[in-house]
Homo-oligomer: 496 residues x 2
Amino acid sequence: MTNLATQALTATFTRLYRLSHLASMAAWDQAAMMPPKGSEARATALAELQVLMHQTLTGAELADQFRAVDGVPLDDVEQASLREMRRQWQQANLLPNRLVEAQSLAQSRCEHAWRKQRKENDWQGFLENFREVVELARQEGSLLADAAGTSVYDALMDKYEPGMRSAEIDRIFGDVKGWLPELIRKTMEKQAADAVIVPQGPFPIDQQRALGLKIMTLLGFDFEAGRLDVSTHPFCGGVAEDVRITTRYSEDDFMRSLMGIVHETGHARYEQNLPREQLHLPVGQARSMGIHESQSLSFEMQVGRSPQFLALIAPLVQQHLGQQSAFEATNLAALFTRVRPGFIRVDADELTYPAHVILRYEIERALMDGEIEAEDIPALWDEKMMAYLGVDTRGNFQHGCLQDIHWPGGSFGYFPSYTLGSMYAAQFFASMRRAQPNLDAQLQAGQLTPVFNWLGQHIWQQASRWETAELVTRATGETLNPVYFRQHLERRYLGA
Amino acid sequence: MTNLATQALTATFTRLYRLSHLASMAAWDQAAMMPPKGSEARATALAELQVLMHQTLTGAELADQFRAVDGVPLDDVEQASLREMRRQWQQANLLPNRLVEAQSLAQSRCEHAWRKQRKENDWQGFLENFREVVELARQEGSLLADAAGTSVYDALMDKYEPGMRSAEIDRIFGDVKGWLPELIRKTMEKQAADAVIVPQGPFPIDQQRALGLKIMTLLGFDFEAGRLDVSTHPFCGGVAEDVRITTRYSEDDFMRSLMGIVHETGHARYEQNLPREQLHLPVGQARSMGIHESQSLSFEMQVGRSPQFLALIAPLVQQHLGQQSAFEATNLAALFTRVRPGFIRVDADELTYPAHVILRYEIERALMDGEIEAEDIPALWDEKMMAYLGVDTRGNFQHGCLQDIHWPGGSFGYFPSYTLGSMYAAQFFASMRRAQPNLDAQLQAGQLTPVFNWLGQHIWQQASRWETAELVTRATGETLNPVYFRQHLERRYLGA
């Protein structure tokens, strides 16, 4: 935005961008590097910064700057930029400083303690901190909801997927609940006859890491502008200029860290390829968390678990983990599409993954809308895990409701982004295949560039230029259409 | 400070402490973790934060808060706290925002480019960024000097060693220059007859790191409140609650990383043992960089290179690096006290180290006081290295004037802290030995606790409660007295 009238606004949002750089890096460090005794000082430092940023967003100066552009003629890009700035500004102005500070502190503390409590299966200990996180999130949601005229949960979800409402999620997830159990059942029946060779560990962590780095390179990760580290819960953090992804390793299982890395690399490439010249403004930043997950899931599900990609990396796997017949391309493809209901969302196969998300969505919506309380979570978790996946989680909080970082971190309303992301990804690849009918042949030949080019042009470079529905329509010719997701799954798992 | 009148002041300095937490962590990351393309975003983010902190220090609100405590009765501790807050406040108020921002940006950029330029021996490239760093430091020094009635250099040195003046440094260093060359000569002559067994590498970096961690444990480093990582230039950073030390490894030489780690662990223990309840206030923070270096050099020189300590760690060295006769305790003692003039300050032996410092002091003082320009540095460096140590550095910028991070980082006036630190350390240990005549026997028996207790009681726990001269007098019965340093060196190197 070079318009004179918008210069002051641009300067303020640039300042906010710089401060958010420090917040992102401190949060990455907190998860990937920080020793336990640093926790309290980090929590107060981050809260101080959050308050400071919030004061900037709610100050009289910024209000004046917005007023100064009222009625000023703006071109399309400037209007989009203003729209995104205004969205952040309006949301922030609904929240008092003391709530922002209290949330930052409560979330840091809860998340930090959770790391240990999770290992120790300590739900009661967790609950002590978690109640406050829930209470504060409800307060936030309530303030946002009053202004937006939505439910508390919808107001919170809007932070991650602007414009999305639970009525639509209910419709979409209701549909999935209609056909997914049968698809899982048929797939497991079909796979029961397959002779899959199980890889024999241990798989040394150094070798898993080296393999991960090779695959990141293959997927175009720019190591001059990012890193791979380790954390309790894998994530993609840092800033667009310096993307920090993490994974976790187990000597018994190389598949989890491998697919985790592929997933986070998808997030990373989105960030690394946002338009440089607009990064400091909201319009230059990632569109939404649903779109963000569509990129990680394009990498993990559409590309990563495809037979073409697995054939491509089979030699790398053998090079790093040794020669085993389990590492033959066809066996890898069988392994990475094997459907087996399990405890852990991030380790779930493609078919059971949506069930994990739907369960969390139903619980967190009820929790935020006041239908249940924090202490009701385990029983609901157990019931739904049994109903949706036939998995018994009773008493197993560690591999149950304590497994994810989202709730201790106060991110209620995020979970739907994963399944929306899967659906967007399927829709993108359907569109890509229509435009490039030989896409699979190219992947087979080790050509990933067509995928990167399509995503780069239609998603990465668009940043927040368009609202989500418009972005998706421009990329694929229609708004979100879950049919592509179902088609993708049926084709991959039933050969339909 | 629980005094009502000082509550507002305490709140402001607590806020500054929290923001400085983020600055310290971002600076650590910049040196130890950040990939190259993160540099520009980091530099602008750090500059933004520096300006913000500076605005807080120079704002009307803080001025009012200081005014509100004028004439209020304060106890001794409160007075000390006020003295330290006022010192920071007064210094900050001499500097305009735009200078603080320009310095932060110029230093970040120069330091970042220096990492590569150093490797590439690129003095000319370095000079392009460095000229601005010099110019801005002179501006800063000049503003501080006008107020303090000192020279530009003295005003800058005062940031690191409050109250110290170059007239005193000249006296002290002049004395050292009188006796050191002869001591070096005699020592080398004496050592020429010693049969020292040179350890045979390579020494795997993993093993060096594991050995370093063991030695940090032996020296009392709290790994729940800190980390060991790698950086181009070793340093101790982070915050008191979470101390980040770094080292660098070479497969050819384990001695450098080992002594580097011992040195930084000394800094770390000072930080880790500052009084918790006052950490958020200037009075609860480290006294000065001279005192800080006295702790690192107590660990490295007084303890680390003593035959008692080397006998203690000889089994650890053998355990990690294998059985070699070079790793026998007496040979280790000979290796770690071997005097050989060399290029690199941080790798220098105890005797030639002061020459490295004196040379830098003389150059940086002349540079800041406008007697020379940045482009004059290499010739002066060459001349002084030849005169003081007989080392030819012509054309070798990498191992010459480009070796240290201080100048690219804009820290002019820091270098004297090292030799002041050596002198304080020698004085502390002389005092310790007077109080505990069996100290060496205890060290011999592996008892390091008496040393930690003495330093803890007299230095660490005192933080900035006293000005430096008072701190040293309370600890040792007199102000800085360089005679102990000379006695220590003559005893250790000539057995005098």
